[in-house]
């Protein structure tokens, strides 16, 4: 353990380390540094995209913006800053899991995460894991999962970052990050507050985005303490308190308002042994919303869920090349709300992950999970993955899995309509990936197929209200390409990075494309850096999406394709060993393009953001 600290340093400051980790000692470190070991160690056959710290900082405000400009994931956003739900490989919003330090944080009420209620401040990395992950991450990891990770840096340091930004629509953003360690204790804290009138102009009309203001504050605080050279105790916490007006549509004003409160706390104890390391996690998650149909009154509806998690896992080195990770977990959910009484749910899960590396070129993973949930029966889930390094430049990856999504509290208990006889949605998927690497160029190609049965859909009933049923069957298939190329010419650095996805997602009864899934989505990022100056340009193309199940084009049936571009420049005004000041300017929607992401809900016109960042 003597070299522990230097390894931490290595982990934290090497940007390519994630792809390279293979040696045993570093794997042990994973167990201490990462709360989510299975993401690194038991996913060799999966495509994992890492969005680095610097990228997160560049994109600023919301997780929606970061992902729509830097990944293949498509977002359906009800106007800027409003409810935002992802479609990952053509799946619906409740089929993408969001994982916070290894724990699934999708809402128990809606089954999904609103990506505009996740503050990206103080996450060291955001990882995108493509492909089914229910064995590892539970309900909802059907298309893929998004991982928000906090790392604790145990090398001796004490630094601060203050960021102030001001932008169009009276948008104010203040954040403060601080990180400290004395080699035994490590802690970091991030505070952020953002406030925006968000009253952007609807291009080509004389209207503005009325009733779209939002503000939110968040705290991320993480603490790690090395008890002995075999034991580490860690505490993670995240709070998010947000208030949003819900803007109307082009034709209808709105007076609605929505308040979110999310609290997440996790205590983790790791014990590191010679052949086995164990980890005990205890977590409490709370989600709480209030919806005001009319913000001028005090009448609201609400929903609240407390989730309690106990999770115990061991990482066992059975042989040098055979690793085993059993996990047992117990979750207890208790909800209360205006429309569904006070339901609760018990969930017990047992999982076994197996990783086998017969030689340097081949890696196999095989994983099983069985849940026992009160109220309905869950299927036995499995997944397997294979990675084969054909050569230094070429790697093949294959994974397949059976995944599921459990009915939400809304599906089961909503009054009226809630249906206690629902089954979990189940899904099979297979994903073949190729990674081609040549010097500083990377190309990742994936092809996937997903078939989902027993999809839960709300439909009107003869009783006059809507009720969910396990009725639909869908299949999704498509291809993704991700490429990255850096080039250095003397003191000039160039980077080009791009993503393209072709996605077919169809209802098997009608063979029609599902609503709000574009066939084509692409983005390109260009960056240039020279000495203290850096510039970047982002381009996003989203193809036409249908808004009704009939697949007709036109203003009532589809949303037009759009292209939107951003430009940013940053300059280091001051740079010393201990201090750094960056000034940056970002222009969003550079060409003032009128576009909608959801029908009749225009997105912002050209807007500016000015930021000053001081590190010391």
């Amino acid at each position: 353990m003597r070299h522990l600290n230097s390894f931490f340093l290595l982990l934290l400051f090497s940007s390519t380390v994630q792809a390279q980790i293979s040696s045993d000692s570093i794997q042990k470190l994973d167990e201490v540094v990462l709360s989510d070991v299975k993401l690194k160690r038991y996913a060799k056959g999966y495509k994992i995209t890492v969005l680095s710290d610097s990228l997160l900082k560049k994109n600023g405000i919301s997780l929606t913006d970061i992902l729509r400009f830097n990944s293949n994931i498509y977002f359906k956003e009800n106007g800027y800053g409003m409810v935002s739900s992802p479609s990952f490989r053509g799946t619906n919003a409740s089929q993408t899991a969001v994982i916070w330090n290894g724990i699934n944080i999708n809402s128990q009420l809606t089954g999904q995460t609103d990506f505009n209620t996740v503050s990206t401040t103080n996450f060291n990395s955001i990882d995108i894991r493509s492909g089914g992950g229910s064995v590892q991450y539970g309900s909802g990891a059907i298309g893929g999962s998004i991982h928000l990770n906090n790392l604790l840096n145990f090398s001796k340091h004490f630094d601060h970052t203050v960021k102030l930004s001001y932008g169009s629509y009276d948008t104010k953003d203040v954040s403060y990050l601080s990180s400290f360690s004395n080699e035994k204790l490590s802690m970091n804290i991030g505070l952020k507050y953002i406030d925006s009138k968000n009253d952007y102009k609807y291009l080509n009309t004389d209207q503005r985005n009325k009733n779209g203001a939002f503000n939110n504050g968040s705290i991320n605080a993480n603490l790690g303490y090395i008890l002995s050279d075999k034991d580490v105790l860690k505490l993670y916490h995240q709070s998010f308190v947000g208030e949003r007006e819900f803007s109307g549509t082009l034709s209808s004003p709105s007076l609605a308002k929505y308040e979110d409160k999310n609290f997440r706390t996790m205590l983790e104890w790791s014990h590191i042994g010679n052949y086995a390391s164990s980890k005990l996690k205890v977590a409490h998650l709370q989600e709480h919303f209030k919806y005001f149909g009319n913000k001028t009154t005090n009448n609201f509806t609400f929903g609240k869920v407390n989730t309690y998690v106990i999770n115990y896992t061991t990482d066992i080195d059975v042989l040098d090349n055979l690793k085993l990770k059993p996990i047992v977990a117990y979750n207890y959910f208790e909800g209360s709300g205006s429309s569904f009484g006070k339901p609760n749910r018990n969930e017990f899960s047992s999982t076994v992950l197996l990783q086998y590396q017969p030689n340097k070129a081949w890696q196999y993973g095989f994983n099983l999970r069985q849940d026992v949930t009160s109220g309905f029966s869950s299927p036995l889930l499995f997944s397997f993955d294979v990675a084969y390094e054909v050569s230094e430049n070429y790697k093949l990856k294959l994974n397949g899995s059976k995944n599921y999504r459990v009915p939400t509290f809304n599906d089961l208990y909503w009054q009226p309509g809630g249906n206690l006889n629902l089954d979990p949605e189940t899904s099979y998927q297979i994903d073949l990936g190729q990674e081609i690497k040549y010097k500083s160029a990377n190309l990742i190609l994936n092809a996937f197929y997903i078939k989902t049965t027993d999809l839960i859909q709300w439909t009107p009933t003869s009783s006059g209200f809507w009720s969910p049923q396990n009725i639909a069957e869908t299949q999704n298939y498509g291809a993704e390409a991700t490429m990255e190329f850096c080039y250095k010419l003397k003191a000039h650095d160039f980077l080009i990075q791009g993503n393209y996805a072709y996605t077919v997602s169809e209802n098997l009864e009608t063979n029609n494309q599902l609503i709000y899934v574009p066939y084509h989505k692409a983005n390109i990022n260009l960056a240039y850096a020279h000495k203290r100056l850096s510039l970047f340009f982002q381009h996003l193309f989203t193809g036409e999406v249908y808004t009704t199940t009939e697949n007709i084009s036109g203003p009532f049936y589809s949303v037009d394709p759009y292209q939107v571009n951003n430009f940013g420049a940053s300059y280091k005004v001051l740079k010393t060993n201990t201090q750094q000041i960056d000034l940056s300017l970002k222009v969003n929607n550079l060409f003032n393009t009128a576009y909608e992401n959801v029908a009749f809900r225009p997105m912002p016109d050209r807007n500016f953001n000015f930021q000053i960042q001081y590190k010391f």
């Binding site: 709105s254 203003p555 009532f556």
Partner: protein, 350 residues
């Protein structure tokens, strides 16, 4: 020269004959959407469909096509008065259009919160409004001056006012109950705004004046299976004598039967129950035991009758709905049309 004079003479003859006898020659069409069936769809997005009376011309999204804007979330109902139509949208607006061209003439929004239906008395309109749907005590009828398109006063009423109907100087309001359950008909005397109530079965909705001038009300009955214990009350068709608001007859349905759609024409009420069409004549003393004919819908969501034809919308909320036309005498489906998403109301624009 002679020819010109002759033709001018002929022209003047034509003009004279035109103005002297309107009935003898076809009148100029008042707009593209005259003489047809108007179907309103709740959405979303909400829209309005048109089908000409000869069933030869159909057009969806007519309001959007004319005005290049959508009707809003959600389109609840349309009222017709003189040459205007009033499009009532839940989000708190009524859009005033020319009923024949569907060109937008104005909007009424100040003073409206969650409007449902509109009725007319001369130059005044009465609009039922739930206000805040979570507040059971703030519901009202908005009184609208149609010359200025503004709400001039409000009349507080009990929870969940739904359909409104004007008859002989009084406004009748069925209180479906909004998000809850109510069981009254409000009667507003237009001359002095005095309010009376008539108690009927739970969830009164559709209202018609029968051939004898009585008020016919369909109440769906409560069916709150999700409550513990579940609450279920009987649906009924109630006939009310408007001279003294007394109940002439109250025909109750069996347990488990909760019809939601009724229409009325020429002495006969038509209602739908579990994809079957039943009829009730004015002098009936009991509910019919056998249906007139069966229909095939996934979700019957709108009902109207004209002449010998029954119009039913099969509501679809994720794609276009279907308007089905049935021949009443044979019970056969004669036509079907793709109409607005969430098609809920069928009107005849004569």
């Amino acid at each position: 020269m002679k020819k010109i004079i002759l033709s001018i003479f002929a022209m003047s003859l034509f003009i004279v004959s035109c103005s002297s006898d309107d009935d003898a020659t076809p009148s100029e069409p008042l707009g593209a959407y005259e003489d047809g069936i108007i179907v309103s769809g709740e959405g979303g997005p909400s829209s309005i469909s048109f089908i000409s009376n000869d069933l030869m011309t159909t057009e969806n999204e007519i309001y959007f096509n004319v005005n290049n804007e959508a009707t809003g979330v959600y389109l609840q109902s349309i009222g017709f008065n003189d040459d205007k139509a009033y499009i009532v949208v839940d989000a708190g607006t009524i859009t005033v259009v020319n009923r024949y061209t569907f060109e937008k003439l104005g909007t009424i929004s100040t003073g409206l919160t969650l409007p449902r239906f509109i009725a007319f008395d001369g130059n005044t309109a009465y609009v039922s409004d739930w206000a805040d749907p979570n507040d059971t005590t703030d519901d009202y009828i908005a009184v609208v001056d149609l010359s200025t398109n503004s709400v001039t006063s409000t009349i507080p009423v009990s929870e969940g006012p739904e359909q409104v109907l004007e008859e002989s100087g009084k406004i009748y309001v069925s209180h479906k109950g909004g998000y809850g359950v109510n069981n009254v008909i409000s009667v507003i005397n237009i001359s002095n705004n005095l309010l009376e109530t008539i108690t009927v079965n739970d969830v009164p909705d559709e209202m018609f004046i029968d051939e004898s001038g009585n008020l016919l009300v369909l109440s769906s009955g409560a069916n709150q299976s999700w409550l513990t214990p579940p609450v279920e009350t009987a649906a009924s068709i109630t006939r009310i004598d408007l001279s003294d608001n007394s109940i002439i007859s109250n025909l109750e349905f069996a347990t488990g039967e909760h019809p939601g759609l009724m229409t009325y024409d020429d002495g006969i009420a038509y209602y739908i129950l579990n994809n079957k069409v039943y009829t009730l004549e004015d002098n009936a003393t009991s509910l019919p035991t056998s249906p007139l004919f069966d229909i095939t819908t996934g979700y019957a969501y709108g009902l109207s009758v004209r002449d010998n034809q029954l119009f039913v919308t099969d509501g679809n909320f994720t794609a276009n709905s279907t308007l089905l036309i049935y021949d009443i005498s044979t019970g056969t489906e004669t036509n079907s049309f793709s109409v607005a998403i969430g098609a809920s109301k069928i009107y005849f624009n004569e």
